[in-house]
């Protein structure tokens, strides 16, 4: 066991995958010599060579489009999109090509491509560097969409994503890149929690708080604060945004009778809307209150000096929790 940052956890996971399977490739802007702008791929080109860790030209559609071709040839490319706001030039390749190839070929073609995207705000960045575009991809059949929240999970989830025969959009909470956690890099992924399952990050009795990516830490801190006030919050880290692990979600809500969903992305038509609908259908007679959502506003991402007002923080999350007790 060693204490690693989340960024390092992904790096170690990528290293394992590169060692394990010669078909695994890393490709993206600045992923080679520089090691990526967040250093997630640090040292990999040095150890695995330029043919496997590829510094690409600066064009996101090109990165994903050529990754598709490499996957058709039998490779398992892991693409890095440098920032969330730069994925949009690649959306045709992701949505119309990558996601649909298995379906269009009636199961003859697999595209085991992973697209890593640093996501979310909170680092004081200029515009287009703080987006949460996950529902674009959860709304696209054929993609798996996952979000890691700490170093240990990131280490295993990136390896599971690379092993997946489906294309995976892998969200990395960029403001948590420097958070440290214990990671057993000697452990294999065989016994690990499957990457399409949610995890109860903290057990509680009074209300279920559903979250993923950057807000898992915020929600755990909210739960700790609430406990001081005598309220027991169960925090569920969704991990997989598509497919959704509804069994774990509904298991928790049936126990607590209350549910709040938190994400950085705008609440309107966000993942919380889907979860609220599913929970209501499945847990109607267990619910003491409507499912509430807390998240970004129906605005573009604001300038960083006021981003703290946009991002759901401990107080806004607990405010939503309090409101579920008002029914």
């Amino acid at each position: 066991m060693s204490k690693l940052t989340l960024s390092r956890g992904i790096n170690e996971g990528l290293r394992k995958a590169l060692e394990h399977d010669p078909k695994v490739l890393i490709m993206g802007e600045d992923v080679g010599k520089l090691g990526g702008v967040f250093r997630v791929t640090d040292g990999l080109q040095k150890d695995f060579g330029e043919a496997r860790v590829i510094d690409t030209p600066l064009a996101e559609s090109g990165i994903v489009g050529t990754a598709i071709g490499l996957a058709l040839r039998g490779y398992r490319p892991v693409c890095e999109i440098q920032f969330d706001g730069f994925v949009f030039p690649a959306v045709d390749q992701i949505v119309s090509q990558l996601a649909k190839m298995r379906y269009r070929s009636r199961g003859q073609l697999s595209l085991p491509v992973v697209i890593r995207i640093p996501c979310g705000g909170g680092i004081g960045a200029v515009e287009h560097h703080s987006e949460s575009p996950e529902v674009l991809f959860t709304h696209t059949a054929g993609l798996r969409v996952v979000a890691c929240s700490d170093a240990a999970d990131a280490f295993t989830m990136i390896q599971q994503s690379i092993s997946s025969d489906d294309p995976v959009i892998f969200f990395e909470p960029k403001r948590r890149y420097w958070d440290k956690a214990e990671v057993d890099t000697a452990a294999g992924v065989a016994g690990a929690l499957p990457f399409d399952q949610a995890r109860v990050a903290l057990e509680g009795a009074d209300v279920t708080l559903l979250c993923y990516g950057p807000l898992v830490r915020t929600c755990l801190e909210s739960a700790a604060a609430a406990r001081e006030g005598g309220r027991s919050i169960e925090v569920v880290d969704l991990r997989s945004l598509s497919p959704l692990d509804l069994d774990t979600i509904t298991g928790s809500v049936r126990k607590t009778g209350r549910c709040v969903v938190a994400h950085e992305a705008p609440v309107f038509a966000g993942l919380g809307a889907e979860i609220a609908a599913r929970v209501t259908e499945r847990c109607f007679y267990h619910l003491e209150a409507p499912v509430l959502r807390v998240g970004g506003f129906a605005t573009p991402y604001p300038p960083s000096r006021i981003e703290e007002h946009y991002l759901p923080d401990l107080d806004r999350i607990l405010d939503a929790v309090d409101r579920t007790f008002g029914y």
Binding site: S61, G69, Q97, R102, R104, R106, Q108, L244
Partner: protein, 384 residues
């Protein structure tokens, strides 16, 4: 008011001006067989085809035109939802398609029926897509012919990535990416050029310039001849008479060999003409003159091969009769197979979204199956 109307006039007159450098339509191209059927030599492209092989190309040209004609009729009869005709582009496709090695990989658009024919794909499989029973029914790896790509230019990146895979495998293969004149405006095509160039990927970019992107003529896409674009990306570009099956064969053969030998990409502009509509939903009379078509009819890709074979005494009337009979047979078979093509079962729409169906998919499938069954149960009850 005067100022305003004056400004409007200026704007309009600016828009009316032609671009200073419109494409050089009359420019030179590589040609080995004239429209009159005369063989001419080109020092860079000696032809390695026997007379029998040329007769074989004639057969290909006739058969794919027949299949195309049958498909258009099937669409008119309501058997196909739509059809994208290759009429006029047979030589560009058969010439390049027959120049490929068995291990070379093809990334087509949705109009590459002639290339599909060369790759041994049953034309009925092509019709599946246009009838709406599948999104592409053939086995891409078996035929080394990828699924048709509808989004313009997207496949050029797949081709380039596939070629990068060949480089890593260290094998003696190459890739050909098909696209049209309109596609050269797409970002993906330009990105594919960049990637192929900087990675020196073994890929040939084969642009069939058929002069029209639905209603837009070439001057809406480019101020320079398309093949000249390659120079800016750092690899060779050339223009070939796209209605000359021999020249298309020779230039493709050479470019693919160069790619296999590590010389990187080539852009081939096959200068041809879309003699039909863009698709069966299109009406070219709204945007182009009939006289233009008449000019191109004189450059027909099939007639010149026939003239060459007849003039040289390389094929007898029996051969042409045999090809015609075979065309009739193939046409009849395609027609019959299309009409008898069953719809997929409704629940097939849930298949192959993921390697394994997700819980939500399984649930939706079960619920919809039960919903469908409820009608059958209702019908049974009312029968009793």
């Amino acid at each position: 008011m005067t100022v305003e109307s004056g400004a409007a006039t200026t704007a309009a007159s600016v828009l009316d001006q032609p671009a200073p450098d419109t494409p050089d339509q009359a420019g030179e191209f590589i040609q080995l067989l004239t429209p009159e059927g005369e063989r001419i030599d080109h020092p860079g492209y000696p032809l390695d085809l026997s007379d029998d092989a040329i007769a074989g190309l004639y057969r290909d040209l006739v058969l794919v035109r027949t299949i195309d004609t049958v498909a258009i009729s099937l669409q008119r009869q309501g058997e196909l939802g739509i059809w994208a005709s290759l009429l006029g582009q047979e030589a560009a496709q058969i010439g390049s398609g027959r120049a490929l090695g068995p291990d070379d990989m093809v990334f087509p658009t949705y109009r590459e029926h002639g290339v599909a024919w060369c790759r041994g794909i049953d034309p009925v499989k092509l019709l599946e897509l246009y009838r709406g029973v599948s999104h592409g029914g053939w086995a891409p790896e078996e035929h080394k012919f990828h699924l048709y790509t509808i989004v313009i230019g997207a496949q050029t990146l797949h081709a380039t990535g596939y070629a990068m895979g060949i480089q890593r495998d260290g094998t003696d293969e190459a890739v050909i990416a098909y696209f049209g004149d309109g596609a050269t405006s797409q970002g993906d095509v330009n990105e594919a050029f960049v990637w192929a160039s900087v990675f020196n990927a073994p890929v040939v970019f084969y642009c069939q310039n058929n002069q029209w992107a639905i209603s837009e003529p070439l001057e809406k896409q480019s101020r320079v001849p398309l093949y000249q674009r390659a120079r800016g990306f750092g690899f060779p570009g050339l223009r070939v008479d796209g209605n000359d099956v021999l020249a298309c064969y020779a230039v493709t053969k050479k470019a693919m060999q160069a790619a296999r030998e590590g010389q990187g990409p080539t852009l081939i502009e096959a200068f041809t003409y879309r003699m039909g509509a863009h698709t069966t939903t299109d009406d070219p009379t709204r945007y182009r003159l009939a006289s233009e078509l008449e000019v191109w009819k004189l450059r027909d890709p099939i007639e010149r091969v026939r003239a060459y074979l007849v003039r040289g005494g390389l094929a007898d009337p029996e051969f042409f009769a045999e090809v015609d009979a075979e065309a009739k047979q193939v046409g009849a078979r395609v027609r019959e197979a299309c009409r008898n093509m069953p719809d997929p079962p409704p629940l097939a729409l849930f298949d192959h979204v993921y390697a394994e169906p997700t819980a939500i998919l399984r649930e939706e499938r079960e619920q919809y199956a039960a919903y469908l069954d409820s009608f059958e149960a209702g019908e049974k009850e009312s029968d009793q």
